[in-house]
Symmetry: C2
Subunit: 189 residues, 2 copies
DNA sequence: CTACAAAACTAACGTTTGTTAGTTTGAATT
DNA sequence: AATTCAAACTAACAAACGTTAGTTTTGTAG
């Protein structure tokens, strides 16, 4: 009795290939080869190639949404909430970097209704993030007059972290969290 | 006598499509339709679909390399050099966002020898950027003990700016430069 | 008016694509 | 020993892919 189903093995292998070449450039025969089986055999486990993408992206999008809701329920200061969000992104980067690549780069290849759902989730997430930043500004914890630029800078850095994390060789997660918080919040100059 | 050749029109139209769906998901028939012609007619002007990608990415990579060399020859302080690099990225984002999308997302679909060339150029660019940051640290202009994290944070933000710039509606470039410098260098807290 | 070259066209090619249908294998259960 | 069932297989499909060959249109210069 294998603890991981055959279907989730396929999704895992596929996500690695998607990360390297993107969803559109990966064929079902590529995925089958990685699974050491024939392409047709995949269809004993999955409905379609697109289903793999949908599972990867929407499951991860829900993780982000859940994480955001947990942070919102914290009784901490806005700055501590942002710190918690940075840690959320880093944990996801470390544990699900392949799905994260798909979410970042291949969401537009979801079926139309799921694109709508995904974009709505992403906009909601950004809106919640923005509100935390604004709260921090109005409390005087954040000094800048550019909440939108701050939001964009932090999110850009966190969303691309998966590219950098693999290149730099697996760093200690706690060190990484500390350093990222230091640079993103306390600044450079 | 049209000032823009037919070939560059094709490259321009193709780059818009690549930005939306990625290189692999765009077919030559898509490009032809955008040009209001038949797919076969494209080949009076281009050698292959891949040639379009090569031109887009390598030309832009050279722009970045040239810009970096100009900054290096400045007699300014490291902090001012970083400011100049931020402005370089913003200028390219505003004027060549489609090519920038291809460079960011589709470089792995270049032919093998050009992948090697591209990666070498990118690593050299990052190395030069890193040295400027280190110089700033040793001069006491930059306080952090994390040059690598700073490099990554700044580059991530600048490289993804093209996504945000289009969404937010065309902002005034000079305002954008000022705000980006403020957030990226002077920090948040 | 003719000649020429650029740039469009039609038609088709060999491959590769995602997917389906039907069959075989092999291990566990009755 | 017979049955069942998940999971692999072979073979093939129609559609879409990038590209080529050969032909016609179109605008310009002699």
């Amino acid at each position: 009795m294998s603890t991981t189903s055959r279907k989730s093995e396929i999704i895992s292998k596929a996500s690695q290939l998607f990360k390297e070449k993107g969803y559109s450039a990966v064929t079902v025969r590529d995925i089958a080869q990685a699974m050491e089986m024939k392409a047709a055999s995949l269809y004993n486990h999955i409905d379609s190639k697109q289903e793999i993408l949908s599972i990867l992206i929407l499951d991860l999008a829900r993780d982000f949404t859940d994480g955001m809701h947990q942070v919102q329920q914290m009784k901490n200061s806005p700055l501590q909430k942002i710190e918690a969000l940075i840690e959320l992104h880093i944990d996801i980067t470390v544990n699900q970097s392949e799905a994260l690549a798909a979410l970042n780069n291949d969401w537009m290849h979801l079926p139309e209704n799921e694109v709508v759902e995904f974009v709505a989730m992403r906009e909601s997430y950004e809106e919640n993030f923005r509100n935390i930043i604004k709260e921090g500004i109005s409390l005087g914890q954040i000094q800048s007059r550019h909440p939108e630029v701050i939001l964009f800078s932090i999110l850009s850095t966190l969303r691309t972290l998966y590219l950098w994390y693999q290149k730099r060789g697996k760093l200690d997660v706690n060190v990484l969290k500390r350093d990222m918080v230091a640079v993103l919040l306390r600044g450079i100059v």
